[in-house]
Symmetry: C2
Subunit: 162 residues, 2 copies
DNA sequence: AGCCGAACTGTTATATTGTTGCAATCCCTC
DNA sequence: GAGGGATTGCAACAATATAACAGTTCGGCT
């Protein structure tokens, strides 16, 4: 798995470790148990820095020598989702680390179809519009999915130069 | 399959026929072939008036006496999606008829987790916010998914009365 | 320390959703 | 009515996700 373009420049190991430290802290505060399997799954997701499917995680765990079946991975993912540490990208059947874990937010994802990177938007404009329109219909919101597929700036440029 | 609450009052058969007539017209204009299978799938989706999974459609086709395998259904669905006649709801792995076929729009769905009905919003506010935020990131949009799960007004009321 | 109950994990099997590849058929155009 | 692209039939299979149950670990409590 090659590290994708936009991430070549940053200190990847450090950013992964930072996410894990955050996760430990968040779980500690809420009394949740970030067990070895769960932590390992979270680490794998962050290392890839791209959406990772459940069965890709499963394969990675097997390479660890860890015997693992689908439920193991799905349970870890459920836990991580419930604690806001990862998001599921419905249009990809895959999971990404959440860079805003701990802070209240509605996931809103820009998915590049070329390099496969995902950017999570933080602005309130979109969720505000969604809440307003839902309220207008008298609809009580439980969960919101916003997934925008297309091409990121870097890949647009790369495409233009070829 | 019981007709869900919000639809008890309308002339369901007429609304289905209207959607089919629209579809025939749209395909005619674009030179697309709305073959019997495709039309039947569209009809089944509209009749249910709720999201329908590919394998539910498959079962319904089999009841017609029509021998059908998964690819048959998926191909029909691909066609209907490409021509804007149905939408796929990623969070349900299911398909709904599009009430705005032919008119340019971005699907934005309110999904009631109680009655399973889906309402497609038409307002431009949400898609405008999405376009604006994407543009700010220099992201070129290809396709947008907005799926809002929760509870519709009717079901909120029903829940309150019990 | 030792016990209890809840949470977590292992394991097998199975359900659900979606795709590939190839042959046969249909339908439009020339 | 012959050629060629679109459509369909069909069989196999791939990918994603869940169910059910047994065993194990962990943390709180006495």
């Amino acid at each position: 798995m090659t590290t994708p373009l936009p991430y070549r420049q940053h200190d990847h190991a450090h950013c992964v470790e930072h996410a894990l430290a955050d996760a430990r802290e968040i779980c500690k505060r809420s009394g949740a148990r970030l067990t070895p399997i769960r932590e390992r799954v979270l680490q794998l997701i962050w290392q890839s820095h791209q959406p990772l499917g459940a069965y890709e995680l499963l394969a990675a765990l097997s390479q660890d020598g860890h015997q693992a079946a689908p439920p193991t991975v799905y349970r870890a993912l459920d836990f991580l989702q419930q604690h806001g540490l990862v998001h599921r990208i419905a249009s990809l059947n895959a999971f990404v680390g959440c860079p805003h874990a701990g802070r209240a937010h509605t996931g809103c994802f820009l998915i590049c179809q070329t390099c496969r990177n995902v950017l999570e938007l933080t602005g309130k404009e979109i969720s505000a519009a969604i809440e307003q329109q839902s309220q207008r219909q008298g609809f009580r919101i439980d969960h919101v999915i916003v997934e925008i597929s297309g091409q990121c700036p870097a890949c647009q440029q790369a495409a233009a130069n070829s």
